[in-house]
Amino acid sequence: MSAVIDSHHDDHHHGPAKGFSRWLYTTNHKDIGSMYLWFSLIMLFIGGAMAMVIRAELFEPGSQIVSPEFYNQMVTNHGLIMVFGVIMPAFVGFANWMIPMQIGAPDMALPRLNNLSFWILPVAFGILLSTFFMEGGAPNFGWTFYAPLSTEYAPPTVTFFIFSVHIMGASSIMGSINIITTILNMRAPGMTLMKMPLFVWSWFITAYLLIAVMPVLAGAVTMMLMDIHAGTSFFKAAGGGDPVLFQHIFWFFGHPEVYIMILPAFGIVSHIIETFSRKPIFGYSSMVYAIASIALLSFVVWAHHMFTVGMPIAGELFFMYSTMLIAIPTGVKVFNWLSTMFKGSLTFETPMLFAIAFVALFTIGGLSGIMLAIAPADFQYHDTYFVVAHFHYVLVPGALFSLLAAAYYWIPKWTGKMYDETLGKVHFWMSFISVNLTFFPMHFVGLAGMPRRIPDYAMQFADWNMMVSVGAFLFGISQLLFLFIVLKCIYNGKAATTEVWEGAKDRGFEWTVDSPAPYHTFSSPPSMESLKSSS
């Protein structure tokens, strides 16, 4: 099939240009996807290095390697970089690579916008990281930047921070507009919405979330900017403003943002489990409805991040109930994945290992999420390491594992070469063990009373913290192995087949084109008939 397409279109195939200008001017979705992925991998190591500094400081009680002030800068930038510089761009990278290939489109709908939305991202992070070398140091008020710590009491670099957030937001919004337009207009004939691959569905919904909430974040930082430089009082109590208003606006953005970082992971994991179970996904339509209802619910749960600000009881109860409701669609997804594997024919290649770990560990993160939703109990959990454990369980073995799984899953298609399976498995087991070593004990220190974002701690937390630090260093090293595996695959991998994974060609258009995928795919749309599973 793919051979036919290629020979047919050989005449107007011109390969990529050479050198740096190829990357600077490219409008090719595959090039842009690769750039997003490399960018987020670089940011992963930068944000990861910050995490290493944090864990070194917390290795033992007492001051270790950095000052409390620099520690706060580390905590803040680790969060910002991991959220906006790693998880989000990586998912956009996968979207760029895979959405056109999965829906049988030749490219994204708005290729020039696509180029722009990538290239402003390094600018945004260049600005953010340059604040480390400015007077007053980098932002130090946490990635949630609560006013007035981030306004009246912020270092002067806060203006650069705001500017950088604006650019990140613009990039995400442009990317999302592009994705929605592509999905709406460029699907292969016969691919109705309810026949779209789940990764496409998850991104379709995520993109709507992004354009709904990134502008609100832009509004919040604009208000901060005005409070700092224009004398307004949005968040200043003195002028009739309200610092708590900031938290409401921030979390109105922030909670959907949390799902922006996990919904595409749901899509990815669904594909991988399906492929390696050699069985169609269980409950396709309930999967779609579950993603949609999680997305909708995300708009009415924001204040569960604020149970201790002194809300009236009606507010506490409302946000507690609405938050608990999210457990239902999430539980449906977990059960659907289990049912997909049930009576399948399972093999455990690296992508599948990461996907299985995703389901298992995301479940732990989800269950601690239910505990956190219980408002009266949250009085004790709020802002402790229990929360840190919870969100790292959903973001590291959750979102990050899904990204690693996706990379292993699709890299043979991108490069035309197989990665080293043995090394991949070593990488998985190292990551799996160290991620639990890092984040599981955080539950204990949190319950025992260790607040988050502190550079030093009381003696009773010492033993667990040392274990956490050891786990974190191990996890950091494991990811260097991932970089090695990727480079080895690109330069020295064995050739991959067109199908790559046994039986995959029935499961998506991307497995019907050559490996590596030609620079231009699907100049004429493929037919739904070629996919057995859709008939």
């Binding site: 708005l110 337009t181 460029m186 502008p215 003195a238 309200d242 009236p312």
Partner: protein, 178 residues
């Protein structure tokens, strides 16, 4: 072209959401008014109650605090007061500029518990008003208030807090701009 149409719609939606972010500010005020969120209270309101309505005793605690770098002395004449609902009361607050420079202060009110805020009517107060005081000058201003007889039964005491902010600089900047 279809793609163009959906792009335009999405761009419009984006700008709409940016505007919505700002619309959250007044929406939040309305929300606070209804739920008493945060004990946020507005300026003076004029209210009187029929003396016939059955009243009960409520303890009012007055809390004064200074925001950072505000050196003035700021006190209510007494920390607590027992009042009957539905009746007018006065409490004096004294501001003293203890510095050797003229300054401007501004007190911001807050009622706790928050859901009691909308039953705490201040018929006369200095909330959000700027006080100009010369070096060493002192001024006493009363707050006149009525507690709504509708106050829920399980609230037997209310705290009225004032935080005093130094707005000398902000005010000077504002003057300079005009």
């Amino acid at each position: 072209m279809e793609a163009r149409k959906s792009t335009l719609k999405l761009i419009l939606f984006t700008f709409g959401m940016f505007g919505f972010g700002f619309a959250l500010v007044p929406l939040y005020d309305v929300f606070c008014d209804i739920t008493g969120l945060n004990g946020k209270v507005t300026g003076p309101t004029i209210t009187t109650y029929d003396q016939e309505i059955s009243s009960r005793e409520v303890k009012i605690t007055f809390v004064t605090s200074n925001n950072k770098q505000m050196p003035w002395s700021f006190k209510s004449s007494s920390p607590q007061m027992k009042v009957e609902t539905g009746q007018d009361y006065l409490m004096d607050f004294t501001f003293t500029n203890t510095t050797d420079k003229p300054m401007i202060g501004q007190a911001v009110p807050s009622v706790s518990p928050g859901r009691g805020a909308r039953y705490f009517h201040k018929t006369e107060c200095f909330c959000f008003e700027q006080q100009f005081l010369a070096a060493g000058e002192s001024i006493t201003i009363p707050v006149k208030f009525i507690i709504d007889p509708e106050l829920p039964d399980d609230i037997s005491s209310l705290a009225l807090g004032y935080t005093l902010f130094d707005v000398t600089e902000e005010f000077a900047n504002l003057q300079a701009k005009n």
